[in-house]
Amino acid sequence: MGRSFKTSYGADMALLQNLWVKTWLVLFLLALAVAPFLLNRYQMSILNEIMIAVIGAVGLNLLTGYTGQISLGHGAFLAIGAYTTALLTGELGVPFALSLPLSGCMAALLGMVVGIPSLRLKGLYLALGTLAFGFIVEYVLFHWDLTQGDRGLPVPPMSLGGVPAETEREIFYVLVILAILAVLAAKNLARTKIGRSFNAIRDRDVAAEAMGIPLARYKIMAFGISAFYAGAAGCLAAHYHKWIVPGLFDLSLSLAYIAMIVLGGLGTILGSILGALLISGVPHGITHLVDLFKETHPALSGLIVDFKLGIFGLIIVLTLLFEPRGLFGVYQRMKIYWKTWPFRY
């Protein structure tokens, strides 16, 4: 046990805590690199969705998990990113490599505007304020000629230097690199002064202010950064789906992202990844199960289609009832169990 004590700040702050973590990370990256050669197209599409969700969820976790500012309107930031890139690449012919950061910045700009009320609103009031923002953005997208309402907008496929990424496999490599960058950036941000200020604001904003953290600047910064992530995720989703309508970015998307970070674990990067994996993966898992039973029990599969949403809800509820800290809590419990085995503490 003694070997796991940390004796310096450097060790405590290290990105990769020990050899175990490093080994598993290398194995995981290797698995990601070879996955496209082992999985079929459908499975790759699930992986791609998960990668996009990881980027959005990490961003939301920076805002909600780290800074404690609730956003129930995150779908709106994804929508802004998606529509920005649709207009930029589709109408103006801006290359994807440029429109990705631009749509992130556009979302960040609006995020900072939304962040201003957060200086006055707290807790549930902020949650409902952002929820209202989400509805208003969806309404504007429906009723503005520029965004073509219900008909939606076409989005060209993503391309790098004029070479389009069209197959699921090519898209996967683009997405996986971006997701890794996003995770690394977030992980590093959390270790800096900014990240610690975010945590201080989450734990007690009055105390944080008393200790000399400018609340206004950091809250707006958190909203901006988080919206940037969401905008980038929205941009990628738009290029991935190739056609966007306002309905894609409704309340259920915002709630799905909240579900990811709550189920994964608030205030942890690993939690956001696990949550994104679970929330984007489970619906496909249920579909897969239904397919398995289709031949043997045709009547049952009809029922399960009705219950798909319900089973999804049940998984969320059960996870939280048994571990309110989410999957990260489960992970930590398991870690402690193995570390101290055969003792209970």
Binding site: P117, K122, G129, H143, K308, G310, V317
Partner: protein, 299 residues
């Protein structure tokens, strides 16, 4: 003038429904600290229950409402015992997510039991109107308003005059101290859920009276949440006022803004976002709602 009065009255009857739902939110939030995202779904289930008895089983209208309300009360109690008893005091987000999960469970159950079609409840008030001084109103909305006002009065009396109501207020104020004073906190929480579910069912039945019974009627719950926030989330009169305000503003917006076009922007169904626009405006001026009190924070 008459048109304005008509819009106002119709808005108020819609507002009464929002207020009932908002009261349910406030009730559950105040005593258990849980923001219930499934309030609209509870209303939807209540309406479907009433529809089952009144239209499918042919039970007399009043009796089927009573059965539906009793069933809703049981549902509320079950929801509390199964899901929320152990979630009291957990982080806000986890509890919100559990209610969201509950909402999707209720939706899929209702979809399985009653299907995805649009139904209507046949009541003694269907398709009948009243007119006085040139204002035409449906009997359904008059009945909604009358019963709601009665319910509001009853609730206010309950909270101020009855022992149980005062115990609920005490629990909402400080659950630990209330427990020490000999109040059964768990039972109070269950009661809050029962009341919340019954209020939601009443709202659902009224909503069905004014439009239809269908799965998507649960969306009204989100607007009612805006009403509850407008009122300050903690106060009963605030929730009623917030609901009425949203109902009237929606009516006005639907009449005067719907056809407008500014540049290349069409206002269209502006009714659906009016509630949220009002909510944002009010929160900008009063960050704790109209009736909310600012909490003094100690570091």
């Amino acid at each position: 003038m008459e048109k304005l009065l008509e819009i106002g009255l119709n808005g108020m009857s819609m507002g009464a429904i929002y207020a009932l739902l908002a009261l349910g939110f406030v009730m559950i939030f105040k005593s258990t600290g849980i923001l219930n995202f499934a309030q609209g779904e509870l209303a939807m289930v209540g309406a479907f229950l009433c529809y089952t008895f009144a239209t499918l089983a042919g039970v007399p209208y009043v009796l089927s409402i009573l059965i539906a309300l009793a069933a809703a009360a049981v549902l509320g109690a079950v929801v509390d015992v199964v899901f929320f008893r152990r979630m009291v005091g957990e982080p806000v987000f986890s509890t919100i997510m559990v209610t969201v999960g509950l909402a999707s469970i209720l939706t899929s159950l209702a979809g399985f039991l009653w299907g995805h079609d649009v139904y209507s409840i046949v009541s003694p008030f269907t398709d009948k109107t009243v007119s006085f001084a040139g204002v035409v109103l449906s009997q359904g909305s008059l009945y909604t308003m009358a019963v709601s006002v009665l319910l509001f009065l009853l609730l206010i009396l309950f909270f101020n005059r009855s022992l149980l109501g005062v115990a609920m207020k005490g629990t909402a104020e400080d659950a630990d101290t209330a427990g020490l004073m000999g109040i059964n906190v768990k039972r109070i929480h269950a009661l809050a859920w029962v009341l919340g579910a019954v209020l939601a069912a009443v709202a659902g039945i009224f909503l069905a009276e004014q439009s239809f019974v269908r799965l998507s009627m649960s969306h009204t719950g989100i607007k009612a949440m805006a009403a509850a926030i407008l009122g300050g989330m903690e106060s009963i009169s605030g929730a009623i006022l917030g609901g009425l305000l949203i109902g009237i503003v929606e009516g006005l917006a639907a009449t005067y803004l719907s056809g407008l076009e500014v540049g290349n922007f069409h206002f269209g169904d502006v009714k659906d976002v009016a509630a949220f626009a009002i909510m944002i405006l009010v929160l900008m001026v009063r960050p704790d709602g109209i009736f909310g009190r600012k909490k003094v924070e100690r570091v």
